[in-house]
Amino acid sequence: MTDNAGSEQTHNPTIALTVAWILERDRDGWRRARQRAASALRSACHRASRIPERPFVCMIRVQTLSHTYKPESGRPITALRDVSLTIQPGEYVAIIGRNGSGKSTLAKHLNALLLPSAGRVTVDDMDTRATAHTWDIRSRVGMVFQDPDNQIVATVVEEDVAFGPENLGVPRDGIIQRIDEALRSVGLHEHRQRAPHLLSAGQRQRVAIAGVLAMRPRYLVLDEATAMLDPRGRRAVLDIARKLHEAGMAIIHITHFMEEAAEADRVIVLDDGEVALDSPTRAVFAHAGELQRLGLGLPPVARLAHRLHLTYPEVPAGWLTVDELVADVAGQHFDNERFYTEFEAQTSFSRTPLGNSINPQTRCEANRHRQETAPVIVVENLPHTYMAGTPLETTALQDVNLTVEQDEIVGLIGPTGSGKSTLLQHLNGLLRPQAGCVTVNGVDLTNPKLDLRQVRRTVGLLFQQPEDQLFERYVGDDIAFGPQARGLSLDEQRERVRWAMEAVGLDFEGFKDRLTFTLSGGERRKVALAGVLALRPRVLVLDEPTAGLDPASHREFLDWLTRFHQEASVPVVIATHNMDDIAQIADRVYVLAEGRTVASGTPREVFAQSQTLAGHGLGVPSTLEVMGRLRARGLAVRPDALTIEEAVAEIERVWIQDRRPVTLHNGAASNE
């Protein structure tokens, strides 16, 4: 493939995008750049036509595609059946579906990583089966995968971005130009000389995107590219996708997050290898019941709208984003100007004080003396520095405070790098306190003579992606690992395995002799969880337990956790990026940022401090966002509605006061 640098300037969306960014304040310049990019893309496609006499089809076209995996042993697995769809240049399409529905398999057909078992896939009129077109197709359809670590090939950012153009045989000057534009497009230009492993996961994923953009694709496939990122990293990736889309690039976004799918113009739902729904986004999310049946759900805002619609049929059900809902509710019924000023005057509703509720004078000693009333976990003024005294010294924790009571589910939120994992590792003695104080079940972990194995038995810690840690051939053996290491008798081991498996909802007889590697991802996660529960922990500590689960498994897990917490009366500490989860299940929340506890309290108290949270790149549950935005528009709703029920009640309350002067009802203050 040749790189005719002259003409390519104009028909490349990334360049146009960069130009537009420089002119960002200039609205006309931005629009002109977009139009130029879009028309250039169209003509580029036509110029590339190899068969001029035939009408040229400028799109991705999937025709009755089937795909069957044929493992060397075992039955062949049909991943796709008779899938037909087209993707137009410049479209923004989301593909959703439960785990194992064939989303990734479909994606890999779009750039000839997989070839059809039956049917046909063409990209801009090039058949993916024609090997002569393979490189052309792959440079047109760029693909970003889930884990950034598995797609970066070089040890320096710019060299990784160069990998694609190097493969295409672009001359050196052209490579430099492409690196420049690609890194500018993802906002990482100043990091071009750094080593990828020193960047955050979100930044690494942007490096991966830049690596794909450097090939100057026309279609960008994001295969669950946001699944492993924190809210800030996800937002950055979505913003890049949005801007590329505006510059004329087609985005095909595969995701488990319904609110991300809601940002697309069109949604394709796959179920068991078939297209279940393929419509404009609004139409797809109008099928609430159907989506539920397919193991999916509605984005939180749409859930809210749906509930409102049930009570008030005159409310349109189709709201998908906070903007739409707020504009509709606030715009239709209220005189914004007047309420806005009124709102401004009264925003000084009382704030929950920041910081911990513990008296800072309390020391470890004090806690040990009143054991029967003491909390299960007490962490006070805990710092932690990794690799102290080496050139790689990093401070993970500066000053952290945390208490967990016997009957609580405590949530832990914070951006990547805030020290959440470091804190969790102190709770079961994987890390020893360097200073400060950690007490668990009345045991003082600062005691240097303490046998930490005792602590680890009483605190079950489930790591991120726990399914990766299974190592035995058989499910039962793997779960028995903990009890066996403790030296329990075979009968007792068996009893514990049975109990743990039943606790997580795996049938003991049905699963104990299954091979671990034949299980699905969700089942493997349950096995890993059972492996921790088999230690009969008195405290359960979970790090990102819902990451990567599809909506149905996600709901199922949260329900399970609440039930288990109550039935087994085990206190739970859960670290997560998902604010809606916290709002739903946590009794109290701690917010960590830069190694400090920056806020704590009930979810209601903590999420009321949306400014603090936003300052650390954290969001609030979607209902709170809606409430906040409605208040900003002057509606007298309470700002702290945590659940959809509360939000609906609040909107109902102000709704019936339609067009009457509403005095700003101070919900937050009366609540305390």
């Binding site: 490189w135 760029g142 670590d149 598995n150 970066i152 160069a162 690799m387 991120q464 903990g482």
Partner: protein, 293 residues
Amino acid sequence: MNEYNFLANVTIGQHLPTGSALHRLDPRAKLLAFTLLVGVVSFTPTFSGNVVLLVVIAGLFAAARISFVYALRGLRPLLPWIAAFGVFQLLFTSGGGFIGATDCRPLSDWWIIGITTCSVKLVLVSTLRFFALYLLVGLLTFTTTTTELSHGAERLLSPLARFGVPAHELALVLTIALRFVPTLAQETERLVKAQVSRGADFGAGSRWRFVQRTRQMLPLLVPLFLNSLRRAEVLTQAMEARCYGGGQGRTHLIEVESTFWDYVALLGTALLCLLMLTTDFASLDSWLAHPTL
């Protein structure tokens, strides 16, 4: 302080940009010099010769402005293995087949265990050699970025491509291997912590009980291996998705250029090697063994 902090103990493979003259050399020159030095270490069978080489290497560290002690610290986790290896050599070889072996006298002869002056010398020389090789590899990685290394290797080997030497592939394998060192180290740490949380007991028992310690590693090694295979599979697809199809027709972002100083460095190394191979260290050794004034 932290029992599971693997990276803290691994010094080799890090790049320490102190900006010395050694850092600025053409990677090709450094690789050639490195090969020559490795060669001369391997072909120096004498005790005093190896001591001289270690002194030379220490001098190179000084030239690179890198602490020699820092580099030696990385050897610590390997000491039990070196010691075990030494004991085996001492007990179960006569040292007779060893190039430097002359004038072997038995020191003890009981059952199959025969310690001779030659096996003592063998142990000393191979330990010194191991240190020298370890330090040389360290010096190379401390002063050269991994990309410089792989590009240097690729360019050095490319003339051999016509004889079927996969120069490009080797360089790519090297880059990817180095790229995944921190990733796998992190993953190992995570797995160790996860298994310890389930009651695993890595590092229990003595550091010298190899079989027990190796068995304890299974809950770590099995998932690590499986995850690496999975990563490799995804990486292959990600590379293919970015149009990777072998070295043919590829262009390069990084270009390497030689300067006058590269030739000086190479010439210097070659002279040193010549000197090392022609000097009669063997008689120095026997003088050390029986000092006569």
